[in-house]
């Protein structure tokens, strides 16, 4: 108690954080005093606190360090100081996942959990469950069962929650505690009842009938704990959703009745949970929705901020699915716009924006404008996101919205906020060609006075890409060159790169660009000078192909892979030159996935996409995760039989299921394409707990021309584990023969075993096999997507350097252009360029551009002209560096 008082006083005096300057090595040194006899409990507790503090600050301990600290800590069990003991439990939990031999404290903890000191018991259970493993569990099962039904609610809750955690490592054992959990559901303690329901549900959740029974019983009994009722509502919802998706929903299900009745519960928490559930259920009709929305509406004017927040957040989420119902709350929402809690205010506004009609956009935007300067960046971003949604919904409103955004751009604000605005403008430009020039103009104006280097760099890159293809490219040059005069080095470098794009794409601007680039060669910064020299000398050649490859398109390979390949190359000196073709290409990630990744990476911060050779590009690329191929290659290399395959894994397919779901054995196949070889990886999972499989392999019947080089079996496959077996094939010499169907059978030796221990009953086994679905090897498996920034110039250039084939097809089964586009992309496995995968609404013809590389490094460019006429007709033109590849592309369609 005294200690608390003193700390508080220190805080008031502005003592600051007492742990600010502590350091790992010193603290671990101090932890050695745990070994002293006699112990000083106060001192030890203080040191333990420091260790916990460090761990919670994200400090990493090595296995050795953690183990040493852990064993020192075990000696503290000799002290009977309650505070210290409880600190020890926390320490055990934190270190349990890092240190070795943590089971050493099992008996000590079991003693505490069954002992007389109530202050120990619950915490000891939690610590015990964090150190235990499956082999130890049997020894403590009896104590866990007793603890679940203990009279002390803290003990019972601790045991229940720990059981839930244990289901991850020993689901079957926890299932045996169902009677105890059942008893605990009847507890008078609200927490125990809640936790017990959690465990019961978890035990039964895979058995639909059992869950239904459980819910039916409990909805009749009226649980005492509001927490438990909330959980029951969630379980009921899940059952309802399942009923609906199975197509056997009944209009007046007792489950729904139960949820609805909870709207009249006496606890606000339960009322809210029920309303939330009803508005989110897909089956809810507008009649059923009404009472739930009125509850939320009522909450909107509650004096409790939590309730207002919960209500407006829920309304915000369903604004799109039930606009009418949410509009009914408009008046209440408008009142919340001025709520002193800004989270509530922002959610209210964005909800209104989502439900507003096109006609109300102007009024609402004015309203936001009045207060947007008062809210923090975090909420401004929410507003920006709402505007983004609005732009996509009402493309015609782009000028109002764009003006608004540019006004926001001019205001004060942090990087994240500015980046989200710029991002939104960029999205609008990309989605709506009509908005392009205005959008670019706003961005030009913005970079005139932009304090965020990374953002300026990104916008310059965009100007370089989009500017040359506008009606008046020269207008952008001035803005860009201004940057060269006024900005710091990274921005100048980006400006140089952007100007070069104009030089490469607009012949009439080339002389001017060259003059400007020549001036930049006098820059004080190395990078800027290097770039200027690089671009200037390429442009000087006036060679279309050269500038396409080295300015317009830039680097296509994955930068981390390039780095690794170069490093490898320098390690083994050789006469031959480095072959960039051996480096895997950068994976093309879909735009939205990319955006998500960026948001996750830097909390919504923008990262410059690859400018050729720029430092920012390298940083961005290395920050990105390695390609799928890299990850697989590492796994393949670890298999000794596969180690001598060519180092360059060209392409790996998505996993394909070769079994129906919920069968005895689950098999998925990944097709790895190497320049000359195909490796089929079969990931097999054994779902039978009474079988141990050995020598698991796949027998394959390959189409003519394929030659099976080797099969690598999986030696052992115990229950619930996934193992891989591989087949290495050589591709046929004739390209057309490489596309075909393999029939596959899984073969293995079965040993029956005891489900409890997993030990085989005897050494004898019997052979068995299992039919798999056919494996298809397609064209798409043999190509890698490549994204072309300027497809037009690449296509033009290819006219003279590539072989061309053309053919016309009638795709009679396709009803729309979108469908045709989607199918062609999937079928060919190539990357759409110039956003040509988006078919503008209401058009009856469309041209799709695709690009990629076939194994062996042959470029493939495809132009597909589509027209809607009783199905879709398609004129397909293929240009490839290899005539056989072009032939393959045209022949496999059809």
């Amino acid at each position: 108690m005294n200690a608390f008082k003193r700390d508080k006083k220190e805080e008031e005096e502005g003592g600051g954080n007492p742990f600010q300057n502590i350091e790992k090595t010193t603290v671990l040194q101090e932890a050695r005093t745990f070994n002293d006899t006699p112990l000083n409990p106060r001192k030890c507790a203080h040191i333990l606190t420091k260790i916990l503090y460090l761990l919670n600050q994200g400090e990493q301990l090595g296995t050795m360090e953690a183990t040493e600290a852990f064993f020192a800590m075990t000696k503290l069990f000799q002290s009977r100081d309650v505070v210290l003991r409880r600190m020890v439990y926390l320490g055990i939990k934190e270190l349990s996942s890092i240190a070795e031999d943590v089971i050493i404290v099992t008996s000590s903890l079991t003693k505490d959990m069954t002992g007389k000191e109530d202050l120990y018991r619950a915490a000891a259970i939690r610590a015990l469950c964090s150190i235990t493993d499956v082999s130890m569990l049997q020894a403590i099962e009896r104590y866990m069962k007793q603890a679940i039904v203990d009279r002390n609610p803290a003990v019972s809750s601790a045991a229940l929650v720990s059981s839930l955690h244990l289901t991850k490592i020993a689901g079957d054992m926890v299932k045996r505690w169902v009677n105890e959990a059942q008893e605990a559901v009847n507890s008078d303690s609200v927490m125990v009842q809640y936790h017990a329901l959690g465990v019961l549900y978890h035990i039964r959740k895979s058995d639909r009938l059992a869950v239904t029974k459980l819910v039916a019983k409990l909805t009749r009994n009226s649980l005492k704990s509001p927490y438990a009722v909330c959980m029951l509502i969630r379980i009921a919802c899940k059952l309802l959703e399942e009923e609906d998706s199975n197509g056997n929903s009944s209009p007046d299900s007792p489950l729904f009745e139960f949820i609805e009745s909870c709207l009249r519960h006496k606890s606000e928490m339960v009322i809210y949970e029920a309303a939330h559930a009803i508005v989110n259920l897909r089956r809810t009709t507008s009649r059923e929705l009404a009472p739930a929305v009125s509850v939320l509406q009522l909450f909107c004017s509650s004096p409790k901020p939590t309730l207002r927040f919960a209500a407006v957040r829920t309304l915000n989420k369903v604004a799109m699915s039930h606009p009418a119902a949410v509009t009914a709350c408009n008046l209440d929402l408008e009142n919340l716009i001025t709520d002193s809690n800004r989270s509530i205010a922002t959610l209210a506004i964005t909800t209104l924006l989502k439900t507003g009609a096109e006609s109300s956009v102007d009024r609402l935007m004015k309203q936001i404008a009045s207060f947007v300067s008062e809210i923090s960046d975090e909420f401004k971003i929410v507003v920006v996101q709402a505007i983004r949604a609005l732009c996509l919904k009402f493309p015609r409103k782009h000028s109002v919205l764009m003006n608004f955004l540019s006004a926001m751009l001019r205001d004060e604000g942090g990087l994240e906020y500015k980046a989200s605005i710029a991002d939104t403008i960029i999205t609008i430009i990309e989605e709506n060609p009509e908005a392009k020039e205005t959008g670019l103009a706003h961005l030009c104006e913005f970079i005139e006075d932009c304090e965020h280097t990374s953002l300026a760099v990104r916008i310059l890159h965009l100007l370089g890409r989009e500017g040359p293809r506008t009606r008046q490219p020269f207008r952008y040059i001035r803005f860009i060159y201004n940057r060269v005069i006024l900005e710091n080095a990274p921005v100048r470098a980006a400006a140089v790169a952007a100007m070069a794009q104009f030089g490469a794409t607009c012949p009439d601007l080339l002389p001017n660009v060259q003059v400007l680039l020549a001036r930049c060669q006098m820059d004080t910064d190395d990078e800027v000078r290097d770039r200027a020299t690089y671009y200037h000398s390429i442009l000087e050649k006036q060679n279309k192909a050269l500038s396409n490859h080295y300015i317009v398109e830039g680097l296509q390979v994955s930068v981390p892979s390039l780095e690794r390949a170069l490093h490898q190359y320098t390690l083994n000196p050789t006469e031959t030159a480095f072959d960039i073709k051996s480096v895997p290409l950068a994976a093309v990630t879909p735009a939205d996935e990319n955006a998500n990744k960026m948001a996750a990476n830097a909390g919504g911060m923008l990262i410059t996409p690859a400018l050729p050779g720029s430092k920012a590009a390298v940083a961005a690329a290395t920050a990105n995760t390695v390609t799928r191929e890299e990850t697989y290659l590492e796994k393949l290399r670890a298999v000794p039989e596969l180690a001598n395959l060519s180092i360059s894994l060209f392409h790996s397919s998505d996993p394909v299921e070769l079994t129906e779901s919920e069968t005895e054995y689950v098999v998925r196949c990944v097709k790895h394409c190497f320049p000359e070889h195909l490796v089929l990886q079969f990931d097999c999972t054994n779902t039978l707990n009474d079988q141990l499989l050995e020598n698991v392999h796949v027998q394959l019947e390959a189409p003519d021309g394929y030659h099976i080089v080797r099969s690598v079996p999986c030696a052992r496959l115990p229950f619930n584990e996934t193992g891989s077996t591989y087949i290495v094939l050589q591709y046929p010499d004739e390209l057309p023969a490489s596309v075909g169907t393999f029939s596959a059978t899984l073969k293995f030796l079965v040993k029956d075993c005891d489900p409890a221990t997993g030990q085989p009953d005897s050494d004898e086994g019997y052979d068995d096999e299992y039919m798999l679905e056919d494996v298809e090897v397609t064209l798409a498996d043999q190509v890698q997507k490549v994204s072309k920034t300027n497809f037009g110039s690449a296509w033009e250039e290819a006219a003279s350097t590539h072989s061309e084939l053309e053919d016309t097809y009638s795709l009679s089964t396709m009803g729309t252009l979108e469908e045709a586009v989607r199918n062609i992309i999937n079928f060919l496995g190539l990357q759409p360029a110039e956003r040509s995968d988006k078919v503008p609404e209401g058009k009856s013809s469309h041209t799709l551009y695709l690009a990629g590389v076939f194994r062996g490094g042959h470029e493939v460019l495809v132009r597909a002209k589509l027209a809607l006429a009783e199905g879709v007709t398609m004129q397909l033109t293929v240009r490839s560096t290899d005539p056989d590849v072009a032939e393959l592309v045209t022949s496999t369609i059809g």
Binding site: T37, T74, K75, Q78, D101, I103, I104, T106, S107
Partner: protein, 188 residues
């Protein structure tokens, strides 16, 4: 240890507190032995195989003992060494009826004696030739010979036959240990 602490210790003003380590193969009766030393009300009625270790406290002749009762199962024996450094006495319990595993006991004892944290220290070792009540139990003399105790020259040791269920022999042993520890402390 500060000068003041040393002084008070020497004068015997402060109660003596010592750590002892209790080792031996599994099922030899370590936990049962320790349980017997505890006061009537603290004693557990049921003893299960130890997993890891347990700390128990008891007093004998004004010396407070903190006993680290280790688990004797094969997979945990490697963990004993973590507790060697801090102990001032060792109780080594042998199941004298388990002839088959006497060689294992000898191996484990040798490992213990050769450990850097034990070797060269004058640390008293008390052996209990436990389960003397069982008919085929070997005598303490035979056990001493089988383990080669005569080789231990640099440490005081003592062996007594015991029955941990009745407590027979335990008192004699612990009194010897208490005496040894007293001597050690006052010679410091």
């Amino acid at each position: 240890m500060g000068i003041w602490d040393k002084l008070t210790r020497l004068l015997g003003l402060k109660k003596r507190e010592v750590n002892v380590l209790v080792v031996g193969l599994n099922n030899s009766g370590k936990s049962t032995v320790i349980n017997h030393f505890k006061s009537e009300e603290e004693r557990s009625t049921e003893i299960v195989a130890t997993v890891g270790f347990n700390v128990e406290k008891f007093r004998n002749k004004n010396v407070g003992f903190t006993a680290f009762d280790m688990s004797g199962q094969g997979r945990y024996r490697d963990l004993w060494e973590h507790y060697y450094k801090e102990c001032q006495g060792i109780i080594f319990v042998v199941d004298s009826s388990d002839r088959l595993r006497l060689v294992v006991v000898r191996d484990e004892l040798d490992l213990l004696l050769q450990h850097p944290d034990v070797t060269g220290r004058r640390i008293p070792i008390l052996f209990f030739a436990n389960k003397m009540d069982i008919r085929e139990a070997l005598s303490s003399v035979k056990i001493a010979a089988a383990l080669g105790l005569e080789r231990i020259l640099d440490k005081p040791w003592h062996i007594c036959a015991s029955n941990a269920l009745t407590g027979e022999g335990l008192q004699e042993g612990v009194e010897w240990l208490t005496q040894q520890i007293r001597e050690l402390v006052s010679n410091k």
